[in-house]
């Protein structure tokens, strides 16, 4: 079924009785050409592009809970391409281009909103670091504008320019940055994959990976064994547990990141604003809620919930930067499991020693914007056995060799500092 405004009107006039399932609920078959473990954003987009770009349709996505229930359903929805290291820059640029055509491609309104992202800086040194970043964005063919204080004031007049603890020097403006409706991204990919024949299997937890003679044979699940020629692990914060089924330790520590949304408010914040000194970023959803977040809670956790000190720190940062949000009331807070890596950058790679086993992980707390390109490049790797050029540096062995370490933050091998 094709979605359109006409269809909405037609259905509205006939009692909305003609709408069907957005995706099929499939039962597991005994065998597939490929299985994706994990029905989050990255897993679903991998399946979608395997089907669409590579014609692989005898594939399944197995998900232990419900589709899109992981980080794609609990993030601050920011979409941007503002990295400065070779390896990241081309990947996120590729992803942003995919975002820009996603609604047409999926025939699903994911409400990708290019409202502009402004990263604030507070000293000459930070300005120069952002200049380096912005220049790389332009080198890559993306957009970046260096704003001075008055330039920031024009966009964000409500910031506290006078009293705030860390005075605003300026900002790096990324007009093509923005937000998207996170759940819709998962649903849109699910629908697109399902329509192309991919089996989406919910409530199906993988309990083991079958490997014989160094070759992957399939998976054991709570709904029985499923054979597969290729298996892709795309489980974000749970990567450690699933990789362990294949006998592999990963350079990943799982951490909790909290996010917050306020009650609905009339439009007041038109951009995505990021405040580096306070680790605070905010945008306003189309429903009116202020959606914002900050840093990790900083301790390893799978609890999907956080504690007060970081909540308070995030609110503290908001109050010093934009005290106009003081009367907004936080409605909900939640936590996601972040697969933190020692350089803050991801892995899309084969698992050495096991033919047919692939992994896509290590998205730290920036995985949402990567969903399209991650799936695109993971699908390319699984289908062709070669790395896509946009993700060629996301190798697992880089921590051992030191080749192409991608440390944007410059904080080093302590996982929680990225």
């Amino acid at each position: 079924m094709r979605f359109s405004g006409w269809k909405v009107i037609k259905e509205g006039l006939s009692g909305n009785k003609g709408w069907g399932a957005h995706w099929r609920d499939a039962q597991p078959k005994p065998e597939y050409d490929a299985i994706i473990i994990g029905g989050g954003g990255h897993g679903l987009s991998t399946a979608y592009y395997l089907a669409k770009n590579h014609g692989l349709t005898n594939i399944a996505v197995v998900e232990k809970g419900y589709l899109g229930g992981g980080n794609v359903g609990r993030n601050t929805t920011i979409v941007r391409a503002n990295y400065f290291l070779q390896g990241n820059s081309e990947f996120y640029s590729h992803s942003l281009k995919l975002w820009e055509g996603l609604e047409e491609d999926l025939n699903y309104n994911v409400m990708h909103s290019q409202r502009g992202l402004i990263n604030l800086f507070h000293s000459d040194g930070q300005r120069d670091a952002f200049a380096r970043r912005g220049n790389m964005m332009v080198n890559q063919g993306d957009d970046a504008i260096l704003l001075d204080r008055e330039g920031v004031r024009k966009h964000l007049p409500y910031l506290d320019f006078e009293q705030t603890r860390f005075p605003i020097f300026g900002g790096l403006y990324h007009p093509r940055g923005g937000t998207a409706r996170h759940d819709a991204v998962a649903w849109g990919y699910a629908r697109g994959a399902s329509d192309r024949g991919v089996d989406l299997i919910q409530n199906c937890e993988v309990t083991d990976i079958d490997i014989e003679g160094g070759v992957v044979k399939g998976v054991q699940t709570t709904r029985g064994p499923i054979k597969a020629k290729k298996v892709g692990i795309v489980v974000a914060g749970r990567s450690g547990q699933v990789a362990a089924m294949a006998g592999r330790r990963l350079p990943i520590e799982s951490h909790v990141l909290q996010a917050f949304v306020t009650e609905g408010l009339k439009p007041v914040i038109d951009h995505v604003v990021s405040f580096g000194m306070g680790h605070f970023y905010i945008s306003q959803s189309d429903k009116g809620g202020l959606v914002f977040g900050g840093d990790l809670d900083f301790y390893a956790s799978y609890a999907q919930r956080g504690n007060l000190p970081m909540k308070e720190h995030v609110m503290d940062a908001g109050m010093t930067l934009m005290p106009m949000i003081g009367k907004a009331k936080v409605l909900r807070s939640w936590g996601g499991i972040m697969d933190m890596t020692p350089d803050g950058s991801p892995f899309i790679d084969k698992m050495d020693g096991v033919d047919g086993l692939f992994i896509d992980c290590g998205w730290n707390y920036g995985g949402f914007k990567a969903v399209p390109a991650s799936g695109w490049c993971m699908a390319h790797l699984m289908a062709t056995d070669t790395h896509h050029e946009a993700a060629a540096k996301f190798r697992l062995d880089r921590t051992r060799t030191g080749v192409n370490i991608l440390d944007e933050e410059g904080t080093g091998s302590q996982h929680n500092l990225h």
Binding site: F3, S4, G5, V8, E11, G12, L13, N16, W19, G20, H22, R24, D25, L67, G69, E104, Y108, N109, Q114, R127, D128, A129, A131, R132, R133, N139, Q140, G141, D160, Q163, T164, R165, D183, W187, T262, E263, G264, L265, K266, P267, D286, A303, R305, L308, K311, E312, D316, G318, M319, P323, M324, G326, K327, K329, L331, R332, T401, G402, V403, D407
Partner: protein, 977 residues
């Protein structure tokens, strides 16, 4: 309509406030909701999506209908529950989400378009043409959405945060909570009792039945009075416990002065962090509405809310009230109304065995299937068991679909409640929040007797865990009526039946979601937005998932619940971020020379937490560059003074300090002679440079390390880590002395001359050669003197105890000025060090190692040190690495900028051609040119090569020559001079 003789409001204190500019009469003790109902104002708000008329629906913090804006100007407070806002004289309130007025709201047209606005409609449209989303569709949607509005101005009010501690936290002061607190209080335990209402007592204040031989209201009041008399009990009214966190930590929001006309300097709210050894949740329960066609009109309320307005506020919410029930409890509403002389149009009870009425008609086995009245309820249509329909004229409907225990807090740590068939709702599971028990209605026990009994039991269990003995407590005599309920979630029929009154989610929407395969409760919630409005689904979630269960052919327990997440009630950002507005976000650190620098007109800039002078403008100078150039020249030609106290200083003592330093630094320190200083490089364990600085050996077992300003804290932590976690065998003590010493760089060819005017003992090149250090008497004060140089000039750093810092700085500067020099700031400091090729964190930015900065030889081959092994990884050395170089402009364009990228001459400035980047630049008055430091691939082998620097953002392309990063005095003659 006021009912004489009823309620707890203070009839002797009448007052007025305004709603949408109209004056409303009220009494002290009223809420905005009770006063509006008394004044027969029915239409109070508009819903989110369809802009449907909304009135007061409840009487608590979960209010689904009456959200208002309080106040005007910068401090206007949106989305305030009219049911929680206490009135005071002069209070200004407004309706919201309407334009131009509440009565005539243009966007109520959305209601007519509702067939096209069903759940998830926006995912299916607005995709064409592509550019219209940001330009047209999204702005229109955004403006229509939202509820209340912020002022857009800085918050003008004060907020507060605080900590509290107790043995036993009681959450909720209804019958269960009061009894728990009383039991624990009498046993002498350290108790905190929190309740979100302005008076404690919970449902007892809204009911007419007796407890312990007195009215419930009186029993509550006397119990509160007894608790208030106990030193070991802290009563916190207007305080909502908002979240349960690990190890017995709770968040709580106290509304300190929202109810006061004159706040008198009080904070508006206080956000409490309460650490409790044990706790009991006695949060009560929330009555649930029933979904039927047009069940959302103003005048339709919960049955218990109608009782609360009658019994607590002395207000009848209607003149002819109808009750719609599926349980016995709701009949109390009819009884109380009749007793107070209010006409009850009838009780429509879905149960054929419903009790008979006394003074009112009971329509047994009937159900309401529609309502009438555009902006206020006028009539309801109901259906007899045989299918006949009838109509009652009524202006208030009190409905009850049963009660849902407030289990939320038990789920904040991932606990899941379980379905209880008897009460047709979810009840908590023990132990989901460690240390927390539940008692009373939140535990699914709805009789007063049951609540009192559970309150006692909870206190006894908690106290017994803590080793506190409790006396045997008698349960006060109270009603113990059975809770007879026949489940009813949604009345069958055409039209829209509301579940979520705020987000306008109807039964149809949930069914549509199920049909579109959003069958998981989480999918349904996200697709329909059910339960995501300000009430967080407190009024609607259970019914919505019952509808979903029905639509998907599953049972309710199998369908499951969504996750309850903190906060229990919305918390203002200002409260949780109290104290941080303005400068409070982080401490400010001031050097001892701050005052003198400000007096000299120096702009102060942030460096970490510190403030440092940017430059010291001299008379006639118009730009910072003029000042900077002069200050640089002062240092190169005469003498300059700069406060360097912000650098970290760590005192290390003990027999093993030398060995310890050898382990944390790449180079050797055990071999350093007493009275000498050495530059050291410190790596992270991953091989990247962590920090650099000089370390002085003051005695055989005594070293003083300096760190960069930004790394002072992290380095201290790192040293403690290395000592405690890796080498506890070493006998080393360390302590920060950053704050002890005011330290000033005195730099330039005349530096020794200046110092010799102040030192008790003159120094010369033999007594104090380059890198010498030691104690010295400065103007009679015992201090320290280091001959070290960041500028590359003959220079010293002189340190005195901080109390003398201000005085010494002024003295040094005046002496320097008399010698043709003066103070210099960060700008000059930066130029001086660039000229000399000295690095800062612009270069050691966390991605560079000793090889990259040309210090590979500083990694001693003779020993292990932190980071050494990993720094030798193949990817971290060799000609593919970007290496530190100097850059000088050689073309027409003379300017260099930091953060630009480097390309081969003539190459396209695109990513694949990128060869490196600039990190630091400055104009050198010494060499009369811009100088730059940067990293260039294989740069050390490329000295002399011409490359181009491209800064797209600033529009600058400069041809440069690559050179050694040390631009002046590479032999080091000046520094030794």
């Amino acid at each position: 309509m006021r009912i004489n003789g009823k309620g707890l409001v203070d009839r002797s204190t009448p007052l007025t406030f305004t709603f949408d500019g109209h004056s409303v009469d009220a009494y002290a003790g009223d809420t905005v909701a009770s006063a509006l109902l008394a004044a027969e104002v029915k239409l109070v708000a508009r819903s989110f999506k369809y802009h449907r008329p909304r009135g007061v629906m409840g009487a608590g913090s979960e209010e689904a209908g009456a959200l208002i804006t309080v106040g005007n100007g910068a401090g206007q407070d949106p989305n305030v529950r009219a049911t929680m806002q206490e009135v005071y004289s002069g209070l200004e309130t407004r309706s919201q989400n309407r334009w131009p007025s509440l009565n005539f709201d243009v966007l109520s047209l959305n209601d007519l378009a509702s067939p096209f606005l069903s759940a998830g409609f926006y995912y299916k449209t607005f995709m064409w043409p592509k550019a219209f989303w940001e330009k047209l569709y999204e702005p229109v949607i955004r403006r229509a959405a939202g509820i209340g509005g912020l002022s857009g101005e800085h918050n003008p009010d004060s907020y507060e945060k605080a900590y509290a501690f107790c043995d036993f936290l009681v959450i909720g002061a209804g019958s269960a909570g009061l009894m728990a607190a009383l039991t624990a209080g009498r046993a002498g335990a350290d108790v905190i009792l929190c309740d979100e209402d302005s008076i404690m007592g919970g449902r007892l204040n809204g009911e007419t039945y007796d407890v312990g031989g007195a009215t419930g209201q009186d029993w509550a009041a006397s119990t509160v009075a007894e608790l208030a008399s106990m030193d070991n009990v802290r009563l916190m009214t207007r305080t909502t416990v908002t979240g349960a966190y690990d190890q017995g930590t709770f968040g709580a929001l106290e509304r300190v002065s929202h109810h006061l006309e004159d706040r008198g300097g009080r904070p508006v709210e206080c956000f409490w962090r309460i650490a409790a050894k044990r706790s009991v949740l006695a949060a009560g329960s929330i009555e649930r509405p029933v979904a039927f066609r047009n069940n959302d009109r103003p005048g339709i309320m919960t049955a218990s809310a109608v009782r609360t307005y009658l019994n607590r506020y002395g207000v009848a919410p209607g003149k002819a009230v109808t009750v719609f029930a599926n349980n016995d409890d709701a009949h109390r509403t009819a009884r109380d109304l009749v007793e107070a002389g209010v006409h009850v149009a009838g009780v429509i009870d879905t149960r054929r065995d419903a009790p008979d009425g006394d003074g009112y008609e009971v329509y047994k086995g009937a159900e309401i299937c529609n309502s009438e009245g555009r902006k206020a309820l006028e009539a309801v249509t109901f259906r007899y068991p045989d299918g006949r329909e009838d109509k009652l004229q009524t202006d208030c409907l009190a409905m009850s679909g049963g009660w849902n225990p407030s289990v939320h807090m038990t789920c904040h740590m991932n606990g899941r409640p379980v379905w209880n068939e008897g009460i047709q709702s979810f009840v908590p599971v023990d132990g989901t929040v460690p240390g927390m028990l539940t008692a009373g209605a939140c535990n699914g026990v709805f009789s007063t007797h049951g609540a009192l009994t559970q309150g006692i039991a909870a206190a006894q269990e908690a106290l017994s865990d803590l080793g506190v003995k409790t006396a045997k407590a008698d349960v006060p005599k109270a009603e113990d009526a059975p809770y007879r309920l026949k489940p009813l979630w949604a009345v069958e029929g055409k039209g829209r039946a509301w579940l979520d009154f705020q987000n306008d989610v109807t039964v149809k929407d949930v069914k549509l979601a199920a049909a579109e395969n959003f069958r998981s409760v989480e999918h349904m919630k996200r697709y329909t937005t059910q339960g995501m409005a300000p009430d967080q689904g407190k009024n609607s979630n259970v019914a919505a998932l019952a509808v979903l269960a029905d639509a998907t052919g599953r049972g309710i327990p199998e369908t499951g619940t969504t996750t309850f997440r903190p906060p229990y009630v919305p918390v203002s950002i200002a409260a949780m971020g109290a104290g941080s507005q303005g400068i409070g976000f982080a401490p400010q650190r001031f050097t001892t020379s701050h005052k003198a620098s400000v007096e000299a007109g120096a702009p102060m800039v942030e460096v970490g937490m510190w403030y440092r002078p940017s430059f010291f403008p001299a008379p006639g100078e118009k730009t910072w560059r003029q000042s900077c150039d002069r200050e640089v020249n002062n240092v190169r030609n005469a003498v300059g003074v700069c406060d360097v106290s912000t650098l970290g200083k760590i005192d290390l003592q003990g027999p093993d300090v030398g060995e310890f330093l050898d382990f944390v630094y790449t180079n050797m320190f055990s071999t350093l002679k007493v009275g000498r200083t050495r530059y050291g490089l410190m790596l992270r364990e991953d091989g990247t440079v962590m920090d650099d600085g000089t370390t002085a050996r003051m005695g055989e077992n005594h070293y003083v390390m300096t760190t960069t300003t930004a790394a002072a804290g992290p380095v201290m932590r790192h040293l403690e880590y290395v000592h405690q976690c890796l080498r506890p065998d070493l006998d080393v003590s360390m302590i920060s002395v950053t704050e002890q010493w005011a330290q000033f760089a005195v730099a330039g060819p005349k530096s020794r001359e200046l110092l010799n005017g102040l030192l008790a003992e003159e120094i010369n090149s033999d007594s104090w050669p380059f890198m010498a250090c030691g104690e010295a008497l400065i103007q009679g004060v015992k201090g320290r003197l280091f001959r070290i140089s960041f500028s590359g000039e003959h220079a010293y750093e002189v340190a005195v105890p901080s109390r003398y810092g201000d005085s010494l700085f002024r003295l040094l500067v005046s002496r320097a000025e008399s010698m043709g020099g003066g103070a210099y700031g960060m700008e000059a400091l930066n130029v001086l060090r660039i000229e000399k090729g000295h690095i800062t964190h612009s270069e050691i930015h966390g991605r560079t190692n000793a090889f990259d900065i040309g210090f590979a030889r500083m990694v001693s081959a003779k020993k292990d040190c932190i980071g050494k092994t990993m720094s030798e990884r193949p990817g971290l050395v060799g000609d593919t690495r970007e290496q530190l170089v100097g850059l000088k402009p050689i073309g027409v364009v003379k300017q260099l900028t930091a953060g630009a990228h480097l390309f081969e001459k003539g190459a396209d400035p695109v990513r694949v051609n990128e060869q490196g980047y600039t990190t630091s630049v400055g104009f050198s008055p010494t060499l009369e040119t811009y100088l730059g430091l940067g990293f260039l691939r294989n740069g050390r082998a490329r000295h002399g090569e011409e490359i181009q620097m491209v800064d797209h953002l600033r529009g600058i392309t400069t041809q440069c020559v690559v050179c050694d990063p040390v631009f002046i005095d590479p032999e080091g003659g000046r520094v030794r001079g």
